[in-house]
Symmetry: C2
């Protein structure tokens, strides 16, 4: 599949790298490819150029060009910039396509821990769907760390991943990718409004992150 | 231990019954004991009188009398009436005592699914602590069904229960009760403000309830 991953941070890189490894043709979307390629300071992580050197098959394009050529678009940008980024990607380039939204609506303006800028009566996923009505939005993967998203089997036991969306075929396509990445318990919560619940898990996730001292954990729905 | 369980619904009954079974001296608190004893319509459940007949050692008192005689008070009332009920129980009767809050701040005024009347920047547990500053509030158990609260070992695998509170000794006392009920993975999230995250899990819990068609599930934090 031709996949565009919008976002060059930890989540974008993890998903792009893993989807490439699984045999898909992946293009990363960014605001300014030249700036991304030449950035030298990246918060202590490898620079994008270093990461890209280890992933020679993954392209890098502006958001619009990446989305234009893709069959599936992944929103791996920060929740506070997601609508802007998708606007740059272009409604026409998203129309009819599955748009996998893995972002969280984090509001950092009150310090740490972050709050959510939308919750309860609405969700980021629904905001995106309203802004791009011809896209087939599926919410998933936002309840775990990037490394767990793409290699859940490295955790010591099965865990769950949630899927929300109004388009059954789109959810089926995303479910296939999740299974390919190693997810064994994909729970279809229902329509896109159920993304509210999945997004509202973040404050608990952050408390657990602090308590456990690691990102390497995930929820399993035991039943 | 002398324990008051405030609330005569499913959660109050489950906790009162199990704590009695574990050898504690339990009194259920209600607004009007006579009305509770003579109620005949209880949403298809056993009436209180039927339930009480099967639990002859459990007392029934007004909220204030139940709390006055207790060493530990459990808030098992609906989140929307919890502050009113605790006011009836009396600040003096809560002072210095461990107050285990298992309620969720459900707002049913928008239909189904319910929303939360407080979230993100505050929590029901913190509202209770501010209203009763001399109580030692601990939030726990609100992320699961009443039967799972008191018999988690009946699920097919270990699951997690969260504890939030500003008083370490109070959390230790609650943890002891949780372990006695069969909880094997008690996660101390930190101060009472971490109850925000635990309470915000409810919308996901409700979606899972609908999807799975059962209340008999719980989250396990796999790490």
């Amino acid at each position: 599949m031709l996949i565009a991953v919008l976002g060059t941070g930890s989540v974008g890189r993890a998903l792009a790298g893993r989807l490439d490894e699984l045999g898909h043709t992946v293009t990363v979307g960014t605001r300014d490819p030249e700036a991304t390629r030449t950035r030298t300071d990246d918060d202590g992580r490898a620079t994008y150029a270093e990461w890209a050197g280890a992933h020679p098959h993954i392209g890098l394009e502006r958001f619009a060009a990446a989305a234009a050529g893709a069959e599936l678009v992944v929103n791996a940008t920060g929740g506070d910039v997601s609508l802007d980024v998708l606007t740059l990607a272009g409604a026409d380039n998203l129309a009819g396509k599955v748009l996998l939204d893995v972002a969280n609506p984090l509001d950092h303006s009150h310090g740490f821990p972050p709050r959510l800028f939308v919750k309860d009566a609405d969700s980021l996923a629904e905001m995106i769907q309203r802004a791009f009505p011809a896209a087939r939005v599926v919410k998933s993967l936002n309840t775990m760390n990037a490394d767990v998203m793409v290699r859940p089997a490295e955790l010591p036991g099965p865990t769950s991943v949630f899927v929300s969306g109004d388009d059954a075929e789109a959810k089926q396509l995303v479910t296939g990718l999740l299974v390919a990445m190693g997810h064994t318990d994909v729970i279809d919560l229902g329509g896109l409004a159920t993304a509210r619940g999945a997004e509202m898990v973040l404050p608990l996730w952050i408390s657990l992150r602090l308590h456990l001292g690691t990102n390497a954990f995930n929820f399993h729905v035991v039943r």
